[in-house]
């Protein structure tokens, strides 16, 4: 169980953008990210829109070329492999996107959508392909299979579409699935259905899952560890239970504090919300990136130097100057 499947070290991804006539600036979407994932483990990456969490996911999948750092998958360094050498890696990984309808080609049937990856990855025997399509559909509970196999994406409900996307992600029996906001466009009840299915698949087939989300309340139920991301940095990481019970970073604290549970007394309380907005990733503030909004801001410290990632409790890391001495 404790075997490491994925190890990411100091990963960076910059995008260049044009500015003015000749100028060029870099949007630093992911900076210095370290993370690891064990076989059969589910982790969450939590952050607000624009913090770089989607870019991080896509860079790990090598849909983007990393600017720097290292990605080690199953003991092999895949950071700079060429696209031809990456074919096996594509087979080992799968992606579940946010908008299922946008992720499915509207002109292909369910069967066509699921058959394509099998053909590309050299499953030549037609009967075997059919069998694997059936199996995948059963795994995501699109049953009876015969009812679905000839349908087009628009004939399915949102939840069914997302299950089809999942079937496509798992049909090559990958080791790693990255689920990027897989449920944020679905209704409350369907959300839980999809997440439970993902959790079942993870446990049954020892899949490793990176669940990328802005919704920290679902992570409690669907992942073992959480990484909190803010402005291109990972700022805190720990076991799910530990982080929810004992958040350390002021940003994590703020995030947990503002999320409501259904309780009628909520309507009488005004919550503490840090002012301002997340920084621009072209010119991030010096020092800690949360410092301009931080309630525990220390002048001359937080705005002077970038904090280091410290292990404060066992396996509980935080990137914040407040904890410098305890570490």
């Amino acid at each position: 169980m404790s075997e490491i499947l994925l190890n990411v070290e100091g990963l960076r991804k910059y995008f260049s953008a044009r500015k003015g006539l000749l100028g060029r600036v870099y949007i630093k979407a992911v900076e210095g990210v370290d993370l690891h994932l064990k076989k059969g483990e589910a982790i969450s990456i939590v952050g607000e829109s624009g913090c770089g969490k989607t870019t991080l996911g896509k860079t790990i999948l090598r849909l983007y070329e990393p600017t720097g750092g290292k990605i080690i998958f199953d003991g092999k360094d895949i950071t700079h492999l060429k696209s031809k050498e990456l074919k096996w890696y594509r087979r080992e990984t799968g992606l579940v996107q946010q908008d299922p309808f946008g992720a499915l080609p509207p002109f292909m049937t369910v069967k066509g959508i699921l058959e394509e990856p099998l053909i590309i990855h050299g499953v030549k025997d037609k009967a075997e392909r059919e069998e694997r399509i059936h199996k995948a559909l059963e795994q995501v509970r699109l049953t009876p299979v015969e009812d679905f196999i000839r349908k087009y994406p628009h004939m399915l409900s949102g939840g069914q579409q997302q299950r089809l996307v999942m079937a496509r992600a798992i049909i090559l029996e990958p080791k790693l699935i990255i689920a990027d906001e897989p449920v944020s466009m679905l209704d409350a009840s369907v959300r839980i259905e999809i997440l439970k299915l993902l959790r079942d698949l993870q446990r049954k087939y020892e899949l490793s899952i990176i669940y990328i989300t802005h919704d920290i309340s679902t992570t409690r139920y669907f992942s073992e560890r959480i990484y909190i991301m803010y402005a291109a940095h990972i700022i805190e990481c720990a076991d799910t239970k530990e982080i929810l019970r004992n958040p350390l970073h002021p940003y994590t604290k703020a995030l947990l504090n503002v999320i409501p549970d259904p309780d009628p007394s909520n309507r009488f309380t005004i919550k503490d919300v840090p002012s301002g907005e997340p920084p621009d990733l072209i010119n991030p503030p010096p020092g800690c990136r949360f410092s301009p909004r931080c309630p525990s801001f220390m002048k001359g410290v937080c705005d002077a130097k970038e904090p280091v990632f410290l292990e404060v409790n066992k396996d509980h890391y935080v990137k914040c100057w407040l904890y410098e001495k305890t570490g």
């Binding site: 409350a188 369907v190 309340s217 995030l255 503002v258 409501p260 259904p262 919550k271 919300v273 907005e277």
Partner: protein, 320 residues
């Protein structure tokens, strides 16, 4: 007996499509005291947005049935003709705050000019005076007045939503319709907007209809809850009771699917999907998915009143 501020009775809005009639709002009745907020909770496609749009009378062109009683302070809005409604109700007494604030602001007009439009056109307020009022309103929502001279694209999502709220407050509305006001915003920005709405509720005391799919979020504002399913209100309850002990089977199952951050619970989902609003089935519309269904459920359940401000559309609660 004190009069209700808003009183809906058998409110109906259907529209016609090539495939038949869509029963988007089907016999909705509830009432609200002055200064109270009702949260309308439901999944996408249950008709909750149609309800808000029908109340402010922004109707689809293919409307087929639009009837019922809507009493605002005793005045039946349904009897007003369009001209009177435009002059005296829409964006005068009732304002509407939509979901995607970017699409609701005109991209080529400065914020200030958009904000003062209703006052200048309707009330013939002088432009300078109106701009001063706009500046004051923006300041009260934490936006400096220099933004009066900016264009919408220069503002962040949270600020745009605040501008819309400010526009709404300019006319001192009696009733505010909030249609998923924070659903495209980030968590912290959402909390900011909810804080703001609480302050408005406390200080200006408008009545509000807060439409949302997010059960947890609804508790930030709601005094009353209306649960909507397939075009109908299936439960109306006070917030204090609803979150602890929801009554309708749909409400109960919905609550089970809400993840909580602070306490562990067994999450569950509702199998199946809601019926189409094109020719919804006779009888209880939740029947197919309900774990407690019985023979009676094939007949239309009445809205059964159990206590003051508490009624349920379910045969399980019928007596005898």
């Amino acid at each position: 007996m004190n009069r209700k501020h808003l009183d809906l009775k058998d409110f109906v809005m259907y529209y016609r499509t090539s495939r038949g009639e869509v029963k988007a709002v089907d016999n909705v009745s509830f009432s609200l005291n002055k200064g109270e907020t009702v949260a309308v909770i439901g999944e996408s496609g249950c008709g909750k947005s149609s309800l808000a749009k029908s109340l402010i009378r922004v109707l689809p062109r293919n409307i087929s049935v639009y009837k019922g009683t809507v009493l605002l302070d005793g005045l039946n809005l349904m009897e007003l003709d369009e001209k009177t409604f435009e002059k005296e109700i829409r964006w005068v007494k009732i304002t509407y705050i939509p979901q995607a604030a970017l699409n609701s602001l005109n991209p080529v007009i400065k914020i200030g000019d958009q904000m003062i439009e209703p006052l200048v056109i309707r009330n013939k307020t002088r432009k300078n005076e109106a701009l001063q009022m706009a500046a004051k309103t923006l300041r009260s929502l934490g936006i400096t007045e220099e933004f009066l001279y900016r264009y919408p694209f220069e503002l962040s999502g949270g600020m745009r939503q605040r501008v819309i709220i400010a526009m709404s407050l300019m006319v001192k509305p009696e009733l505010m319709l909030l249609d998923e006001p924070t659903s495209s915003l980030d968590v912290l920005t959402q909390a900011n907007i909810m804080n703001l709405m609480k302050k408005i509720k406390e200080e200006l005391k408008p009545s509000m209809i807060f439409i949302t799919h997010d059960v947890s979020l609804s508790s930030e504002l709601a005094d009353k809850i209306a649960v909507m399913y397939a075009g109908q209100i299936v439960e109306f309850n006070t917030a204090d009771k609803f979150y602890r002990d929801p009554a309708h089977p749909y409400s109960q199952k919905l609550m089970e699917s809400v993840p909580t951050l602070r306490v562990d619970k067994n999450l569950d989902y509702i199998p199946g999907s809601p019926p189409s609003l094109l020719n919804p089935p006779k009888g209880c519309r939740f029947r197919e998915r309900c774990p407690w269904r019985f023979e009676k459920c094939t007949e239309d359940p009445p809205l059964i009143s159990l206590e003051k401000d508490f009624y349920v559309r379910c045969w399980l609660r019928a007596e005898g």
